[in-house]
């Protein structure tokens, strides 16, 4: 398996307050890797560092063999094949579902390819097809989540970053979203880095997991093994029902 993403000893600060203090993680091609941890542990900060939304102070981020942590803005990162679905979904609320999806393909110029991806996305999320001309802001939370995942797929990414796709979504829909993530990873050969507070869901659908605590990696390993790990059970799977 070849390595797609490597984070080495990354430190990230907001002004003078650290959010990441020496984080090292890896993701291989074809993998789904989960990042779990409590509020403020630094999960989103890892994704923001990868996308270039937030600069890092120390360490290295390597994608596909190239360093990407210096001198690349968010738009350049998208062109390299990394697309993020941000926390809180962030659809373009006054645009139609169609225009939202087309925005996902903003960096692409191959018309035929874009249409093929559009077919794939609409096939995967039939709900989007029903709502095709509706303003995205008027859809339910679950539908919006499908839309932003679809929008990200429109870029034909190599690596998909998902920030809490289950947040604020009806439990039944969480199942659907989880299944879609597995299917996207398997069928579309997209590697996935998944941030989740729903640790059980994250451990179930990922190959490997890193558990973060206040800016560093506390635990990591195969997700199936971690699901049985006593520390994980008490710390991350505690009061959750599923």
């Amino acid at each position: 398996m070849s390595q797609l993403l490597r984070f080495t000893d990354v430190e990230l600060y907001y002004d003078h307050v650290y959010a990441l203090k020496g984080v090292s993680i890896e993701l291989n091609e074809g993998e789904t890797v989960a990042l779990i941890g409590a509020n403020g542990a630094g999960k989103s900060s890892i994704l923001r560092a990868i996308t270039g939304l937030q600069g890092i102070r120390k360490g290295e981020i390597v994608f596909d063999g190239n360093r990407i942590d210096r001198g690349f803005g968010p738009d350049a990162i998208v062109k390299m094949g990394i697309v993020m679905v941000p926390e809180g979904r962030r659809v373009f609320p006054f645009m139609s579902v169609k225009d939202n999806l087309l925005m996902g393909a903003f960096t692409r110029t191959d018309k035929g390819g874009i249409n093929a991806t559009l077919e794939m996305v609409l096939g995967r999320f039939p709900r989007l097809k029903e709502r095709y001309t509706q303003a995205a802001g008027t859809m339910s939370g679950g539908e919006q989540q499908m839309l932003v995942i679809g929008r990200a797929l429109m870029a034909k990414p190599k690596l998909l970053l998902l920030d809490e796709p289950s947040l604020g979504i009806a439990p039944k829909l969480v199942q659907d979203i989880a299944r879609s993530i597995v299917a996207i990873n398997r069928d579309e050969k997209v590697s996935v880095l998944l941030v989740e507070q729903n640790s059980r869901m994250a451990l179930r659908i990922s190959h490997r997991t890193y558990a973060l605590a206040t800016g560093s990696v506390a635990l990591s390993g195969e997700s199936t093994a971690l699901l049985e790990d006593e520390r994980v059970k008490s710390l991350y799977l505690g009061g959750e029902v599923s």
Partner: protein, 289 residues
Amino acid sequence: MEQVLANGLYLGAQYALIALGLTLIFALMNVLNFAHGQLYVLGGFVTYTIYGQLEMPFVAALFAAAVTLALVGGLMERFLFRTVLKRSVREESTMLLAAGTAFFLDAIILLIFGEKQRGVPKIVDGVFNWDFRLIMPYDRILIGFLAIFAIAAFVLYMQYSKTGRALRALAQDRVAAQLMGVNVDRYSMIGFALGAMLAGVVGGLLVTITGVNSGIGGPISIKAFMMVMIGGAGVISGAIAGGFILGMLESVGLSVLHSYGDITYLMIFASLMVFLSIRPQGLMGKPWG
């Protein structure tokens, strides 16, 4: 009656085009461009120079005004607003910058073009006369239709082109647009250039009817703010509605209130205050749609 309506439509189309440029810049950068009226004046003078002075075709002059103003707008964004927006944390900074730019452009315009009122030869002769119920010179009709055509072209461009879509996305959610690969700097510049170009085009259109002088930048800006406030800031449909409403009010006012003296704008300001106290977000008050 027909006369008042036709005048209102003609004026409204020009106004709507001015308001569209202002609202586009506002939606994209959250900047109220106080210098918008000066951009209009510049467009008028470029057209005056090329069509009136150099006696080249009007179409060429209008095109030159559009290109010049797009350039000026692009430069304003690149060297003034971008730098200030990056460094400042307070909104007043960009307002002061915009006001300063307006004075600066006023001075430049005065220096280059002087203080005289300038007009150009008629682009077409003749007057349309429908039984004396509706009398309108052909050049006004032509300029009116050109403005409506420009509005339609702009709306279609924003709705269906890739660039237009990216501009709308940027206005609705800056971060999400970035995450789709939109380069914020480049597209802010494109948007600013496009907004300035619209102001310049109207200046170029209206110089053939009312002429241009270096002092009308400020009043035009104020009218543009009013239209944007009537319609709702940052909304395409709002700018168009605001433009036509103000054009209509002005036309009705000029014919109805004529006998009471020059009080049209007094009445318009008063009603605008009442309207805004009832509906502060304007008619279509929502972010860019």
